[in-house]
């Protein structure tokens, strides 16, 4: 019975099926918002207002001819999309979707998720490396260079709320502002870390202005230049799910949670803001509200990402390294110091 439940968790909710569907919805939203900001219409015809377009795109790719370059390492070439997809789905299982505790939650899952989210970058690098084409090679080295640029600020940023909450568990970090020991105003304190997290998440997702590894006009498709058919479809699905997991992670740790409290924590008085931003409800209502709450938060983060995509030009690889180490990393450290100062004063 228990095994069946776990299988359901992994395959259906909050696992593969839910993640695929919700992430394609997020992709649709991203495309629609991006298009409207550019005064275009975006996807129109598949489903209501083109809602099924991302699904259709993936099915189209699945039905396309699959070509493997003659010089590429066939097994590694085929393995990379599966590896990265598996990594992001696993990471997604730790996101507290309907509940403030995911079924496999444990003390330290924040670290696990953060590490699992670096695997797609590495597999993308290896995918480019095994393709053996100049464009893939350049793209692959760019993936790695960019990884070194954004990874440290990203970690520093998402660990800041954890330090405040004094826990490495996503659900506890999420619910901390509404517990008896926490306060809702820890959320504005984390503002710098939130901005850094959004920027680095954009870099992780390789979207404008940080779509350097896949810059179409420069290196065609970057590491994915030689990919086609099913393998490319898997990579695309991975990209979508990565967007969902990344945004959901940022939303959870920075924007507060909603749902049932994990054991060992007590609830504080919920004010107006608490009701708006998160809070607590028991039973089925808690489950539903929790899920809706997370969906809305995630969509908000994706909206910010779309806006960032629309407002900028792509920068160069040397510029992102400089930007990251000159601004993002120092500011995350400053945020850390601020938080430590608060903690030392006993304010939290």
């Amino acid at each position: 019975m228990n095994a069946l439940k776990v299988a359901l968790y992994i395959l259906v909710f909050p696992g593969f099926v839910f993640q695929s569907l919700y992430s394609t919805f997020l992709e649709w939203m991203d495309r629609k918002v991006y298009a409207r900001m550019q005064n275009r219409r975006g996807p129109m015809y598949t489903g209501w207002a083109g809602m099924l377009q991302p699904v259709a795109d993936i099915f189209k790719l699945l039905s396309k001819e699959d070509i493997v370059p003659a010089q590429a390492d066939r097994r590694a070439f085929a393995f990379m999309p599966i590896l990265s997809l598996a990594a992001v789905i696993t990471a997604g299982l730790y996101i507290p979707v309907w509940h403030l505790r995911s079924f496999n939650s444990f003390e330290g899952d924040l670290i696990v998720v953060a590490y699992l989210l670096t695997i797609p970058s590495f597999s993308l690098f290896l995918a480019g490396w095994f393709s053996v084409s100049p464009y893939s090679l350049i793209g692959a080295t760019r993936v790695l260079t960019q990884l070194f640029a954004y990874e440290v600020p990203f970690f520093l940023a998402i660990l800041t709320p954890a330090v405040i909450a004094g826990s490495w568990q996503i659900s506890k970090v999420a619910v901390f502002p509404w517990t008896a020991t926490g306060h809702w105003w820890v959320l504005p304190v984390e503002l710098i870390a939130f901005v850094v997290a959004i920027l680095t998440l954009q870099a992780k997702l390789e979207r404008v202005p940080f779509d350097i590894p896949e810059a179409e006009t420069e290196v065609v498709g970057g590491p994915l230049t030689e990919y086609s058919g099913k393998k490319l479809a898997l990579f695309r699905l991975e990209k979508d799910i990565l967007m969902y997991v990344g945004s959901a992670l940022v939303a959870c740790v920075f924007l507060g949670g909603f749902g049932a409290l994990p054991p060992g924590l007590e609830r504080s008085e919920i004010g107006v803001l608490g009701v708006l931003l998160g809070g607590y409800a028991p039973g089925v209502a808690g489950v539903l509200l929790g899920a809706v709450h997370l969906a809305v938060k995630t969509a908000f983060v994706v909206f910010l990402l779309s806006m960032l995509r629309a407002a900028c030009a792509r920068i160069r690889i040397d510029q992102i390294v400089r930007f990251s180490w000159r601004y993002l990393a120092p500011w995350s450290v400053v945020q850390f110091l601020v938080v430590l100062l608060f903690k030392a004063k006993g304010a939290m």
């Binding site: 409207r36 900001m37 005064n39 275009r40 219409r41 806006m307 629309a310 407002a311």
Partner: protein, 132 residues
């Protein structure tokens, strides 16, 4: 001096305004007066001077002049009636560049360009227009 996010107000303005994209295959754009579309032939005006053939830059027009056999027998003593001529224009639309030179040089206005702009086809044969 560079300022971050200069485009953001415009982004929000556009988010609220109506998109400018037209639903092309369903809503067609109006072409202006004097649009140069497909050359159309009026056989009754044509005198068979073939100036259009001479000046067509892409060699897309072919005018055939066919002399029809007289319908009435010639009457003794009177001048023979002028033989009637039948004009046919073969237009190779796959070659036509829509420059309207034919319409411009035609002395009798036997060629005029219509407003048809969706002239793509799957085979060249369907682009060979015989107009009488």
């Amino acid at each position: 001096m560079p300022k971050a996010g200069v485009l953001v107000p415009e982004l929000f303005r556009n988010l609220r305004s109506r998109p400018v994209t037209r639903f092309y295959p369903f809503e067609k754009a109006e072409v202006p007066e004097g649009f140069r579309g497909t050359p159309r032939f009026k056989a009754e005006n044509c005198i068979g001077c073939k100036v259009c053939m001479r000046d067509c830059p892409s060699d897309a027009i072919h005018i055939e002049v066919q002399t029809l056999p007289p319908t009435e027998p010639a009457v003794e003593g009177q001048p023979a009636p002028k033989p009637k001529k039948k004009m046919t224009m073969v237009l190779y639309l796959d070659r036509c560049v829509h420059c309207a030179r034919c319409a411009e040089v035609c002395p009798k206005d036997a060629i005029a360009l219509d407003k048809e702009f969706e002239v793509a086809a799957f085979s060249r044969d369907s682009l060979r227009l015989v107009q009488e």
